[in-house]
């Protein structure tokens, strides 16, 4: 039995010489509590996200309920990923051998800067300079390239990266940031999307807010780019060790376009994305689509093994990315966070995410999984990432829906413990003192009654209004919560009066 809220797990890290943390878009600039406050007051954002997450929650529940063996599939998924993590060097070597034998080229990147430099070099070697003096690449939605800030880096190297996923396109055209790993524009409704398209797609003409019309506009906007661009950049959902195969799971066909039509394909994939065998797809191709978009199967899934003669890009590269993954792996209690297959089910059920949206997490990886993954990859002591493990009510809904059974609440609690050890602050010392006091008071009925006898006085002072701020350390509590107006009497006092009245009534009988 786990007692949530009590950090019981002692640190067991395997890095005597510290393994460096990751860089890029996984570091929060300000604490979660501070940023989330701004987003909470945006009613439009809350409506959009509330509507979207409710829709996807229902769809997921329906298709998961169709499978009698769902729990066995989750167990199998969890086991396969644990197996990968425990034997990662062997699986990486096996994957490298098979992918290379099939004509692919593998590059290793220790961090975001190194990965960005490798991709830039490959683009410069394979994409022509256009009349504008710049190079162009098309991109499939990829969390790894978002994490390393690839588009921003390419921009500085005179390379324009065109996002081709509809939601990424909405984000890119709106000069915005993704707020959800599956639907990066989940914070935008159809009216906002229409306005962005009307402003940023000069050839689009008059558009309505119908999703079908907006999808059609995206098709026309990107068609020429798909048919003519020489270099594409993708991520990968899976790397299969025993065959050297990569896979991308998608809906729109933009993935197929990028993976098939260009001459050069550059894929960026985290080292943890491996599966042991091709047969393991029989589990993951059931877990991922049902957890992710709530579909029995997503419209398109592509697999490629190095190069295929006469079919698709003949110049195929893979950048294997660390960027803090080994740091996360070193934490025995946190390493299962690396099992994540980026389905986003945990976001859709999270009461905190539903209210703050994804931007408040300040990382490419928002929501419950982001609240553990980001600090595990950077270390809790990095910047404000130590605040992320507190962005949770520990309700456990995320664990229930996770297709690979990552025990997110338990890792959150573990990381809170790490944070207290690493960044032991005056606030937590005050809290310790206050809790010790409360424990003394609450352990004895007389002390409790004595404390409550002050309530009528407090009510007289505060009146019937709710309390919006308290002084001192209690101010941290009220900075994001309101306390209801104080009652005139405590429950004990009401009970005593009620008992007395009942006795009186009995006497009258």
């Amino acid at each position: 039995m786990t007692f949530l809220g009590m950090p019981l797990l002692r640190s067991t890290r395997h890095d005597d010489q510290e393994i460096p943390g990751g860089q890029g878009n996984i570091v929060e600039d300000e604490s979660f509590a501070k940023v989330s406050h701004q987003h909470l007051s945006n009613q439009q954002l809350r409506n959009n996200i509330g509507h979207a997450t409710a829709t996807i929650r229902d769809k997921r529940s329906e298709v998961v309920a169709e499978l009698d063996d769902w729990e066995a599939l989750r167990e199998a998924g969890s086991r396969a990923k644990n197996q990968v993590m425990e034997n990662l060097p062997e699986y990486l070597a096996q994957f490298e051998k098979n992918f290379t034998a099939a004509g692919g080229v593998i590059h290793w990147a220790r961090d975001a800067d190194e990965a960005n430099a490798i991709v830039t070099e490959l683009v410069e070697a394979n994409a022509p300079v256009l009349e504008s003096g710049r190079r162009e690449v098309i991109k499939v939605k990829s969390m790894a390239t978002q994490e390393i800030g690839l588009n921003e880096h390419l921009e500085t190297q005179d390379i324009d990266a065109f996002e081709t996923d509809l939601a990424e396109l909405i984000v890119q055209l709106g000069d915005d940031k993704p707020s959800h790993i599956l639907v990066p524009a989940i914070h935008r409704n159809r009216d906002e999307i229409r306005d962005i398209f009307m402003e940023k797609m000069p050839d689009a003409g008059e558009l309505t807010n119908e999703p079908a019309v907006l999808a059609e506009a995206a098709r026309r906007h990107l068609r020429h780019k798909f048919l003519t661009t020489k270099v594409a950049i993708s991520g990968a959902n899976f790397g299969i060790a025993d065959t050297g195969t990569l896979g991308v799971v998608e809906s729109e066909g933009n993935g197929r376009m990028c993976l098939t039509l260009p001459e050069t394909l550059i894929t960026v994939m985290g080292i943890e994305k491996l599966l042991p065998g091709f047969d393991d797809l029989e589990v993951f191709l059931q877990l991922l689509p049902r957890s992710s978009t709530g579909e029995r199967m997503n419209p398109y899934t592509s697999f490629w093994t190095g190069t295929t003669p006469g079919d698709g890009p003949q110049n195929v590269h893979l950048v294997l990315l660390d960027n803090g993954r080994t740091r996360a792996l070193a934490d025995e209690h946190g390493r299962s966070a690396l099992n994540c297959i980026r389905c986003s089910a945990c976001m859709n059920v999270c009461p905190v995410y539903e209210r703050t949206g994804g931007h408040a997490y300040g990382s490419t990886y928002p929501g419950p999984i982001g609240a553990i993954l980001s600090p595990l990859m950077t270390g809790v002591e990095a910047e404000e990432n130590g605040s992320l493990p507190y962005a949770s009510s520990l309700c456990g809904a995320c664990y229930d829906v996770c297709p690979v059974k990552i025990n997110i609440p338990e890792i959150l609690v573990h990381l809170r413990g790490e944070d207290v050890e690493a960044n032991h602050s005056p606030v937590s010392s005050q809290l310790d003192t206050a809790l010790t006091g409360a424990s003394w008071m609450m352990s004895d009925g007389k002390r409790m009654a004595a404390a409550e006898s002050g309530l009528p006085i407090a009510h007289a002072v505060a009146g019937d209004k709710q309390i919006n701020s308290l002084p001192g350390i209690a101010g941290a509590w009220t900075s994001s919560r309101d306390i209801p107006a104080l009652p005139e009497k405590s429950f004990r006092q009401l009970w005593a009066e009620n008992e007395a009245r009942a006795e009186g009534e009995d006497d009258e009988r």
């Binding site: 829709t55 509809l166 999307i193 990107l222 993976l259 098939t260 039509l261 091709f278 490629w304 079919d311």
Partner: protein, 250 residues
């Protein structure tokens, strides 16, 4: 640069896993870790850890797959007409048009294509399937590939398929001569795909068991779609916007 990075990353992983020196695996998963830490993995996780202690070599020698002993379903229960009905139901649910043909499918296929239009087919497609079609047929073959712009001017593509998974309404193309290379089923806006009854399986594991990734594989479940606007599924984005599936008994 890259070689150094490779060695360094593998070194970090070994360190993170608590291995010392030449790959020796010092696991604490076999007893010293509090029980709570393996609750996400269950007993199977710690069992594997124990096995690794006795056999630190490359994992799962042979196949590499670790799911063979799991309890999830490996075969479905639908057979015969039920199986075909399930596939049709699931394909239609995802907005594919389904046509069931007993006997010669040539007339049905021709009926799905505009008379006199131009279509592309892979070199291995059964000729008899197109004998009722009156338009122009381009055969895409090694050394005689249509360019991307030529593919863009085709009204439709007609191919066979390797496997169809009924439970999920999924059709798999495997790059064989009758499925063709990937671009021909991607660029034209209309895909007519022939599924043989013998190639229909019930559930995903049965489908995967029939495939190998030697060539590129494409799994198709309905026409191109997106759920990116308010999470509503809308058919018709970049891939073919019309998917006609012809199920043939032969």
């Amino acid at each position: 640069m890259t070689d150094t990075a490779r060695e360094e990353i593998l070194g970090r992983i070994n360190q993170a896993l608590g291995r010392r020196g030449g790959g020796e695996y010092v696991s604490s998963a076999s007893g010293t870790v509090p029980a709570a830490s393996s609750s996400a993995t269950g007993h199977a996780g710690s069992h594997e850890g124990t096995e690794e202690n006795t056999d630190p070599g490359p994992p799962a020698a042979g196949g590499g797959t670790v799911n063979q002993s799991a309890e999830y379903l490996r075969t479905g229960t639908h057979t015969g007409e039920d199986l075909i009905e399930l596939l049709i139901d699931r394909l239609e649910d995802y907005k594919a048009n389904v046509h069931r043909v007993s006997g010669d499918p040539a007339k049905t296929i021709a009926g799905l294509l505009d008379a006199g239009s131009n279509i592309v087919v892979p070199r291995g497609l059964d000729d008899s399937w197109l004998q009722s079609f009156t338009g122009e047929i381009s055969v895409d073959a090694p050394g005689q590939e249509l360019s991307i712009l030529e593919l863009d001017s085709q009204a439709a593509v007609v191919t066979a398929s390797a496997v169809a998974i009924a439970q999920t309404g999924t059709i798999v193309l495997d790059g064989s001569p009758e499925c063709g290379r990937r671009a021909i089923t991607l660029v034209p806006d209309h895909h007519v795909c022939i599924v043989r009854v013998a190639d229909i399986v019930d559930i995903v594991p049965e489908g995967i068991a029939r495939l190998t990734p030697d060539a590129a594989l494409t799994f198709i479940s309905g026409p191109s779609a997106t759920s990116d606007i308010e999470l509503k599924r809308v058919e018709g984005v970049h891939g073919p916007r019309t998917l006609d599936v012809v199920i043939v008994d032969t």
